[in-house]
């Protein structure tokens, strides 16, 4: 196996090593000139027992990349056209991740179709910016092509780097909730919000909880295997191990409580955490807080204060809580309905360290009766919900049983 020649004038020097490492099979007969795509290099190295006019191209259409093989012989086309499932296609053209790979590297998932006289491979998932892919076309003996690719028949290798596109703004931590700097000893969770989607699978490598001496606390978060991301990949939930919050449980006895009243701690989100594009964060984010007595009381809607808006305007309705509540749930589980029970469309804002919830209607308020409908699952920072306290003493305390799924707070707009 020998690399004949590199088309040096079309290839940045920095790429030469990539190309030099590409795997080529078969003998050495001729070299084809490459097609150049949108300013990015492409190199075709051909070997094989028989010359062919096959050309392979990575082509972009509507933001998506396809790989096309044209110049197929009439026999090959006939063979392909005879089979609706295009079973022979994989024997003619396959696409792989990387400029080179092990002999047993499986090809990209994707589907084939015939577009006139061109065989088109559509990858199952979009090719990724900045990544290198290679297409391998069989030009040696098309008539013998089968669904199994025999390396000895491979001839035409096309290597392509997907343009990186516009460099998006670097990703940073936008917010950490709860936003207050005094938290109860039985604080249950943190939400970390990012400005862009983050990589999966490395949360616990990049987040630490430090004690007053700056020492990381062992195993502070519950690791359930999967990470607690939202759908957009921009918010992760860090759940403090309930076994180390609760009194009398073995993990707490052995490892000690995570947070202790009277002490200070710092949650650190490390700069090395990668976003979905593989770039580190712009900077580390530290959230320092003091710990106060545990919070064992449930949120009580009867104690909440409502600031009624005037009619005919879009001034927000505001509600004030007796303690900070869970930020994520405040954004989701409170709704406003009109006198007929019809939901009022509007936008929610949470402020004052999660002690204020406000709702701006999209249409002006009409005079009349409204209700704020609140799910009883709504929790405070320690996981106590309207429905039940986080910790229940089954023998001594009668659980305040709330059987309804929502509570309603009425207000009138005048």
């Amino acid at each position: 196996m020998k690399l004949l020649r590199i088309i040096a004038d079309e290839m940045p020097t920095s790429r030469a090593s990539v190309i030099g490492g590409a795997a080529f099979a078969g003998g050495t007969s001729w070299l084809r000139r490459s097609m150049v795509l949108s300013g990015f290099f492409i190199a075709l190295m051909v070997s094989g027992s028989r010359a062919s006019a096959v050309e392979v191209e990575f082509r972009q259409d509507a933001g998506k990349y396809f790989v096309e093989a044209s110049g197929l012989s009439p026999e090959t086309l006939e063979q392909l056209q005879a089979d609706e499932e295009l079973k022979a296609a994989a024997g003619l053209l396959q696409v792989f991740t990387g400029a080179e790979g092990a002999p047993d590297q499986p090809p990209l998932l994707g589907t084939y179709r015939l577009d006139g006289q061109t065989l088109v491979f559509e990858p199952r998932f979009p090719l990724r910016p900045g990544r290198v892919y290679r297409a391998v076309a069989s030009v040696a003996s098309e008539a013998e092509a089968t669904t199994e690719v025999d390396p000895s028949k491979l001839g035409l290798v096309t290597i392509f780097e997907v343009p990186r596109g516009e460099q998006s703004a670097p990703t940073k931590v936008e917010a950490i909730f709860p936003s207050g700097d005094v938290l109860p000893e039985n604080q249950l969770k943190f939400y970390v919000h990012f400005s862009a989607p983050m990589a999966r699978g490395e949360v616990y490598e990049h987040v630490q909880l430090l004690n007053e001496q700056g020492q990381p606390i062992d195993y502070p978060f519950v690791n359930v295997g999967q990470e607690l991301w939202d759908r957009s990949g921009t918010r992760v939930t860090l759940l403090l191990d309930p076994g180390r919050i609760k009194r009398g449980l073995k993990p707490r006895e052995e490892l000690g409580p995570i947070l202790e009243e009277g002490h200070s701690y710092t949650l650190v989100v490390q700069e090395s955490w990668r976003d979905a594009a593989g770039h580190p964060l712009t900077e580390a984010k530290r959230k320092s807080f003091k710990v106060t007595a545990p919070d064992d009381t449930q949120p009580d809607p009867a104690k909440w204060r409502i600031n009624r808006p005037p009619a005919d305007g879009r001034q927000p309705l505001a509600m004030y809580f007796e303690e900070p509540l869970d930020h994520a749930m405040l954004m989701r589980v409170l709704n406003v309905v009109d006198g007929q029970g019809k939901p009022v469309p509007g936008d929610v804002q949470v402020g004052d360290q999660e002690q204020r919830w406000s709702f701006a209607p999209r249409q002006p308020w009409q005079p009349g009766e409204y209700h704020i409908v609140i799910a009883t699952t709504l929790e405070d920072r320690a996981g106590n919900s309207i429905e039940r306290p986080f910790e229940v003493d089954v023998f001594e305390r009668i659980e305040a049983k709330v059987t309804t799924e929502t509570v309603e707070l009425p207000f009138r707009v005048r």
């Binding site: 990387g98 989607p197 939202d230 759908r231 957009s232 009194r247 929790e379 986080f390």
Partner: protein
């Protein structure tokens, strides 16, 4: 006195187990679009149960993969994660193999796979055959049914859609019902649910809330990490493993509407540990549980006495262990995923010292 106990409360009625002639009955042709791929498990007749945590939904899909001789099979793939990444056009660090399940009828290995994050995120199911060939399980125009978990995310609000999801830590088919253990990323809802298969009465499925109790009276709610059905005599039980690592048994028939059920802690398997996967098997006329753990290796736990095992009622000091006896299988290290293949072997995803994740067939210890 310190009592370690589990109390389960049934929130909604459990329906009687439906008698199914064939698990593919009741499925209708449709397409499944996964937004995420969590734990997977097999129901009878080649039906694969797939959890989609982001959508808080469980799908049943008839794979049609019902033939094979599992006794002779020994699947093995070097660098499985690397190969899967190559097929998805990605690097290994951008790909997660979230679960592995062996189809007990064919011996083929199914993988629940996620690629990327955010707008690029993709989820799919891959099938590894006995030759080690990897292919995608088609989810278009297949016999399917779905169950949306109760209290699923409300309709999308705002630009980014609803942020709430229900992480599924494990699921299993038990006598005509699908049991699902899960955890929300917002409200602290750690639940074990039972939904009648094939999901014709989703909203009436049972929701069992587990309280992980100690110190006599204090209940808490720790998430179940993995569980397995286990028959004790004629009684169907569920054995559930929690973080740090109590093993708890529940009698399925005890789970009645509105009643609190005490589950018994039958083993304490040590601290600083997260159970990853478990199943029950028989060898030489005895029952065992094989459990893979995050930091305590693979354990072979004697299960014959589960039926009679005393509840652990004294604190276990110093990170120690108690209850059912077990041994750590020294020859098995780095096991990340585990499922039973046949009477004598299991399939495991094993992380080697070079960091590569290999698919291996292992002998049942």
């Amino acid at each position: 006195m310190l009592i370690r106990s589990i109390v389960a409360m049934l929130a909604v009625a459990i329906l009687p187990a439906a008698v199914q002639a064939d698990a593919t009955e009741g499925l209708t042709k449709g397409s499944v679009e996964l937004t995420s791929a969590g734990p997977i498990a097999f129901a009878p007749d080649g039906v694969l149960l797939i959890s989609d945590p982001m959508a808080a939904t469980i799908y049943a899909v008839a794979t049609g993969d019902t033939e094979g001789d599992t006794s002779s099979m020994k699947p093995s793939v070097d660098d499985l994660r690397g190969k899967v990444a190559a097929m998805l056009g990605s690097e290994p660090q951008d790909v997660q193999i979230n679960d592995l399940a062996v189809n007990p009828q064919s011996g083929n290995v199914y993988l629940s796979v996620a690629r990327g994050s955010g707008p690029d995120a993709a989820a799919l199911i891959l099938r590894v055959n006995q030759q080690g060939e990897i292919a995608e399980l088609p989810l278009k125009d297949v016999p399917t049914a779905k169950a949306t978990l109760p209290n699923a995310p409300e309709s999308a609000e705002g630009r980014r859609g609803n942020p709430r999801m229900m992480t599924v830590t494990d699921l299993a088919y038990v006598d005509g019902r699908v049991f699902i253990a899960g955890l929300s990323n917002e409200e602290f809802a750690s639940k074990l649910r039972a939904v009648a298969y094939p999901f014709e009465n989703v909203n009436e499925g049972a929701s069992v809330e587990i309280y992980h109790g100690a110190h006599g009276a204090i209940e808490t709610r720790s998430p179940i990490m993995t569980f397995a059905p286990y028959q004790v005599g004629s009684e169907q039980h569920v054995l559930a493993a929690y973080t740090c690592t109590p093993l708890v048994k529940f009698r399925v028939s005890d789970l009645k509407p509105g009643e609190k059920v005490r589950g018994d802690t039958v083993a304490e398997l040590g601290n600083r540990n997260r159970p990853l996967d478990m199943f029950v098997y028989e060898k030489d006329g005895k029952s065992y549980i094989l459990m893979a753990n995050s930091s305590r290796g693979v354990m072979k736990i004697t299960a014959d006495n589960v039926g009679q095992a005393d509840t652990i009622s004294e604190p276990v000091e110093g990170g120690g262990t108690a209850g059912l006896s077990y041994e750590t299988v020294e020859s098995l290290s780095g096991v990340l995923q585990l499922d039973r293949l046949n009477d004598s072997s299991a399939v495991a995803l094993v992380q080697a010292e070079d960091g590569k994740e290999n698919l291996r067939t292992i002998d049942l210890p």
